[in-house]
Symmetry: C2
Subunit: 455 residues, 2 copies
């Protein structure tokens, strides 16, 4: 009874995948920390998507990748293989350099809602496939759907047409795009291999590249409300995605932006739409405005519509001042079946039944807002999903009257809560009070944009 028959193991494994290497050999190579050949990665992932490699072998490989990582070349091949598993949208007949923005997710992150019309108004075609709220973070699709009639389930042909005609289209993922990612994600979700940098990066990038983009701006959030709490992790994710972009011949610029407190003052679907409209009218909170302008500016430069940040800034200011950005928003809403009047008359948007105020328990300065806790409070209120089949209440949410650094007196409103269900108010109030810290000293402001990275 020898402990392990190495020679037999190899012989007994599943048949070789098309590149000649067996799944066993591929897993062992990665486990030992050696480099996988690009062709082997593509054959393995293709065979897995076709159901010819069983889940247990993929699970073992994913865990080996968790420990050993993937280098830039391997990541390129992995992402390419993901991409090849499904349909890659072809926007080559749409004139211009198509640029999208991707955010790693945060609380109050309504950037896409203002960025897409602003970039499109400045001449950049924006093909944008977005997601739903997940965990404590909101989702662009949920926010858009709070506009009456707005449809995010357009087919590929409509998507292509709107990118061409309107220069912006915001839809959800279709089943034909990167099916390998859906299958892999479901497996990662039950094998504790979700929070693995190369797998996160290749999942994001394969879905973005399948949109038919030429270039991409990444908004990597960092802070208490982000999935990346630490700047090092945010930087590593940004670099990994930039590397993948380079491997795939796409220009990628990343901004690491602050998510240590909610962005802007509105948290909740319809409330965030209102704030996004205000941004396009030059009336939104400065932090949200600044992050949107920084990200949209990068899109203008990548899209060849501005030679530098200053020129991009000027063009955006002009689109806002002239009303072109608002007009583009109305055009997008109308093109996707929504009621364009709702972005001028907010009474046409869903509204919560009740309003309440959470008052400051002491006097001083807001020193910290636990951003993830605010996001989870919003989910508890009904603004997000506690389970995958939960129904969102589009009108509910928060308006943060005080943000970090603001002076506050005892009894002054900290947060206005828009709610439907009175039974949820007490829990949500307690969560919000727990999220705020008030102290005697005005805290040092965190930068809004921590870093800018490109290859």
């Amino acid at each position: 009874m020898p402990p392990w028959p190495a020679a037999l193991s190899r012989a007994r494994g599943s048949p070789a995948i098309s590149s000649g290497v067996t799944p066993y050999e591929l897993i062992k190579t990665k486990r030992e920390g050696h480099k996988l050949a690009a062709g082997d990665i593509r054959s393995f992932l293709a065979a897995y998507t076709r159901g010819e490699v069983p889940d247990y072998q993929m699970a073992a490989l994913l865990m080996a990748i968790f420990f050993r990582g993937l280098d830039a070349e391997e990541l390129g091949a992995w992402t390419q293989a993901m991409l090849e598993s499904g349909e890659v949208l072809d926007l080559s007949d749409v004139p211009g350099i198509k640029v999208d923005k991707h955010s790693t997710g945060g609380v109050g992150d309504k950037v896409s809602l203002s960025l897409a019309p602003l970039a499109a108004a400045c001449g950049v075609p924006v093909p944008m496939i977005s997601g739903r709220g997940l965990g404590h973070t909101g989702g662009t699709l949920d926010k858009l759907e709070s506009i009456p009639g707005f449809r995010v389930d357009l087919g590929v042909e409509d998507y292509r047409r709107l990118v061409r005609e309107v220069r912006a289209c915001l839809i959800g993922q279709t089943a034909s795009v990167v099916p390998a990612d859906k299958k892999l994600y479901a497996l990662r979700d039950v094998t504790a291999t979700v929070d693995c940098l190369p797998l996160i990066a290749s999942s994001i990038m394969s879905k973005k590249l399948a949109e038919g983009i030429d270039a991409l701006v990444l908004d990597v959030k960092c802070g208490s409300g982000a999935f990346m709490k630490r700047i090092d992790d945010a930087r590593a994710l940004a670099r990994t995605m930039i590397d993948i972009g380079a491997q795939m011949g796409r220009k990628v610029v990343a901004l690491i932006t602050d998510m240590d407190q909610p962005l802007g003052r509105a948290v909740g679907n319809a409330l965030e739409v209102i704030e996004a409209v205000q941004m396009l009218q030059g009336e939104a909170p400065p932090d949200y405005t600044e992050v949107t302008l920084a990200l949209t500016g990068e899109m203008l430069i990548l899209g060849g519509k501005a030679k530098d940040a200053a020129e991009a800034r000027a063009r955006m200011q002009e689109a806002i001042a002239s009303g072109a950005a608002m007009a583009k928003l109305e055009e997008i809403v109308k093109a996707q079946g929504g009621d364009p009047r709702a972005v001028r008359d907010f009474s046409l948007l869903p509204q919560a039944k009740h309003e309440a105020t959470v008052a400051a328990p002491s006097t001083g300065f807001v020193t910290h807002i636990d951003c993830e806790a605010v996001g989870l409070a919003a989910v508890a209120l009904g603004a997000g999903r506690e389970r995958v089949d939960s129904v969102i209440q589009p009108g509910v949410g928060f308006h943060l009257e005080k943000k970090v650094g603001d002076r506050v007196e005892t009894g002054e409103p900290l947060v206005r809560v828009h709610y439907d269900d009175p039974a949820r108010l007490e829990d949500v109030t307690r969560r919000l009070l727990g999220a705020y810290r008030i102290g005697p000293e005005k805290p040092v402001a965190r930068p809004l944009i921590h870093e800018r990275l490109e290859r």
Copy 2:
């Protein structure tokens, strides 16, 4: 589209196993390098054996264990859970301290064939469940079956009876013993998690403990013909198994013995039976004799039949000189259906059809024999299995005329080859010539017993 929904992942995983923790949590805990609770390990393995935990979750856990290991307590729980998956043989009605020996496998390792009758002749009951040849190593069951009529497929009742009446019984594993190991081994074999120390150690120990033993002597082989080529690896495996024994309340002693060249001079099933008989008559090569006496001596001490090595040595010499050891071998062979005359009259054993000699290509000293290459040459000759369904040719094998340190003249026989199939001779001769190194200097002898370990 946030990168990973950690909260949802946990919620979406499979239902909790009976201890309350979900498979997802268990995998993640190990992945992060934290300790698994004994109860969780036992629930998880039990659920896996019942088919309630899918292979892909076990595959992810096994790979996480490959990277993170299992500590002594975890190993105890893991081994206990393996044991609990099937029948644990109860030998409590057999008087005396039941002691077995386990070898990690080597080439020419016929120790069990002489050790079992010798220990039994000295009064130690030996319940021994052995394995088949695997890879380049031979298997005790294959060797025993070269004795005409010898049966290794006895049922549990016969096994129990023979341990009591004969004080030794050598059989193969039954389906009812440690079924979790069979299922796990098949999964490890295709997910590149076979060569993982804690999984090897718990697999071996669970099978040994299921035999109903009170104590165990481990023969951990080390050298070019062993699975552990390096002393550090051999020591780590030995320590791990000793730790498991301690966790399970069993005394375990390990000897790390040399396997840098074949043990003794005979390689091949019937040829090794002959050499084992010669050992019991005091006429075997000194290396094989010494390793057998050292291991059997440990059994005598553990079994309470000798107070120290010197007394054990004296008792064994007496059993050999008096013929008691040979009589015990005959008794075992007869009890298990074999022809006892075959151990006195070797013409009753299977014999190869042909004999050839591999001659020394130069003059000097044998400086090295690549032991794994000799094992693989024996397999190529038909003494082992190239595939799981290969049929063994029991009479074929080698007699090593020269071993490491021996002086040799050009043209003198290095190896006598006993073969059935002339078509295989050329390949086997080439392999053997490739395995021998002849040089001008007599090499420094390696120790036969590298280390002795106990808790």
